[in-house]
Amino acid sequence: MDILIVLQAGVATGTILLFATLGGIFSERSGVMNLGMEGMMLIGAMSAFSVATSTGNPWLGLLVAMLAAGLISQVHAFISITLQADQVVSGLSLGFLATGLALVLGEGLSKAGTVPLIPSYTVPLLSQIPIIGPVFFTNQKLLVYLGYIMVPLAWYYINRTRPGLHLRAVGEYPSAADSLGINVYRLRYFYVFVGGLFAGLAGATISLAISPGWFSELTTAGQGWIAIGLVIFAQWDPVRAAVGSYIFGALRRLVLDIQGPNVIFGLANPFYYNPYWGFFLEMLPYAFTIIVLVVGSREAIRKRLGAPTALGVPYIRGERGL
């Protein structure tokens, strides 16, 4: 088992989580928590796969996936923003709806034939850098590179631009934004939609690039939920989201790859000789998510910051304060 190859694959896997986490950050920064992430990713993965196999164009699949997930996210937006329902319940119901819809529309897709994939690319020069080169810049899918670009862009957008300023205000103190003529409802709808776009992108990244195919609910295998946990760990910051996502990606790869070789670090590999221990390895990413949540939540308490103040609170005009 070559550690560099594990890390390289980890970065690729982590890109899925990165997109989903970024989507969560945008939506939560505007004050709307969307627990339907898993379902939206499934919609994305399904429609990407379906469109790509039927048209032969993976990029078209990617685009449709993003739009489809963005569209379905508006169900949650309508229920939680306009109808002022509890965001937890509304997000969960979106999750059920989107998952069910993906399964219905994706029926029989797994036998749909070969899917055209998003191409891979090795960056000249950069790939020559020791360690970093082979891990980040060698033979990675183009979407992985898109991830590298997205992180600083997202950070810049949130912290250093006018729309970003409005986004933060709407999530922190919607009545202040409203009093200055910012349309709180419209912005929240928009960023829930952006969250959906990213979820669709994450789903398409699975089915068109990282682990191609459509395996119904197993396609995402809980990664949408892990992403929601990562949003908290990231403290709503895109840079920390990247760190968390890549670590998680590496962990997921490690869990898969560690059972392969019979000798590891010069010792007999216990996971090779006890294949059933694999079930405990399977638990690791999920257990680790819980640990990451503990770390994130403790940090939020210690630093007395963290979640956008209005996160989870429906905005009702005419009621003062938060």
Partner: protein
């Protein structure tokens, strides 16, 4: 003073009528709220029909089939009940936790944990195979509930101590529970290399109606089992806890306004842990009843998503423990008949559509919608 908080598009201003929303000053009647739930299910079925038609199915035939395949005869009705039993108990587990606004999405995992606990009584074994049936039942109920409670305890304590979002932690515990069960059925309790344990001895089975067919011939072939009695007892207990006990008062108070609860001297942390444990224990009981009443062995995929459907059951029942029972029967029918419906994702999608419609309809419980001609507003 709350004005209607809805964003208004400009083109709407040009219509001759406009929709006025008024916050209700009086709580709506029970009848209205019942009709509203009923109405949203009807709307959901209509939406489902549209999707079915688009996906190439015949919606009316499908719905007719569901009714026939789940209520058409005493036999299938009994099978419907079998599917409804775990839903009832899981629905109660969710009802309890949701009353405190504790979003236990981990009933699925707690269900598996309960199934594991109950199986351990037979497979470990903790009791000799020839122990009397009543002793088996008592021990399996205890073990199942204990394991479920343990599975609920982890997210509960994390929430209480570190303010860890319980939605995610309970969900993660689901995946862990399934891997945990898999380990035991693959590695330890496997029977002849198959991914399942040996069949439990007969005295570790929950009694079924069919067992009394000798005395009452009508019961011949009916699979409804003792779990139904457990579910009804659980409903009564949950109702007593929530609406008659001091603890239930605390739960409802924390659920409605945690800061007020704190102000009244109620420990939120303690209640979080306790409610998560009891909710987990109930879900564990559901797992136990399924494993000893239906499957009779430990194996994989013992639940077609009971833990998740229970969430919808609890919501449709408006968190009323008694209403959970009839609602579960409806969803039991959907699960039973759904196995034959193509595409196979339909029941799952229908669950989602129903939940979405229900939550959307809650808006009408808080606001009155009126159509007013412009200029005649008063």
């Amino acid at each position: 003073m709350a004005e209607s908080g809805l964003p208004r598009a400009n083109w709407l201003d040009r219509l001759p009528y406009r929709v006025m929303l008024e916050p209700r000053l009086k709580p709506p009647s029970r009848f209205f709220s019942l009709m509203l739930s009923f109405g949203s299910v009807v709307v959901a079925l209509l939406i489902g029909a549209i999707v079915l038609a688009i996906a190439g199915g015949d919606p009316w035939a499908t719905y007719a089939h569901i009714v026939k395949a789940s209520f058409g005869s005493v036999g299938v009705l009994s099978d419907t009940m079998v599917k409804a039993i775990p839903l009832m108990i899981v629905g109660l587990a969710c009802t309890l936790a949701f009353r405190m606004k504790l979003w236990n999405i981990g009933a699925e995992g707690q269900f598996y944990a309960g199934a594991f606990g109950a199986s351990a009584v037979v497979l470990a074994p903790m009791l000799p195979a020839d122990a009397p049936g009543w002793l088996f039942i008592i021990c399996m109920v205890a073990a199942g509930m204990l394991m479920g409670a343990a599975w609920g305890f982890v997210p509960g304590i994390l929430k209480a101590r570190f303010n860890v979002n319980e939605v995610i932690s309970t969900l993660m515990m689901n995946y862990i529970a399934i891997s945990w069960n898999n380990y035991w059925i693959y590695a330890v309790w496997t029977e002849g290399g198959f991914q399942m344990s040996k069949v439990f001895p007969k005295n570790a089975w929950l009694p079924r109606l069919a067992d009394y067919a000798v005395e009452i011939p009508f019961f011949r072939g009916l699979t409804t089992h003792f779990g139904l009695v457990l579910a009804v007892i659980a409903a009564v207990v949950v109702w007593l806890i929530l609406y008659r006990s001091q603890w239930g008062y605390e739960i409802r108070l924390v659920g409605d306004n945690p800061r007020a609860a704190e102000y009244a001297g109620i420990s939120i942390a303690r209640n979080t842990v306790l409610v998560m444990m009891l909710s987990g224990a109930l879900a564990g009981l559901a797992g136990m009843s399924e494993i000893t009443g239906v499957v009779h062995r430990l194996q994989g995929s013992i639940s077609p998503g009971y833990g998740f459907t229970g969430i919808i059951v609890a919501w449709l029942a408006k968190l009323n423990p008694y209403a959970v029972i009839p609602v579960s029967i409806l969803f039991g029918a959907l699960i039973l008949a759904g196995r034959e419906i193509q595409p196979s994702g339909i029941p799952k999608m229908m669950n989602g559509v129903i939940l979405v419609c229900l939550i959307a309809s809650d808006f009408l419980l808080r606001y009155r919608v009126r159509l007013v001609r412009r200029g005649e507003e008063a």
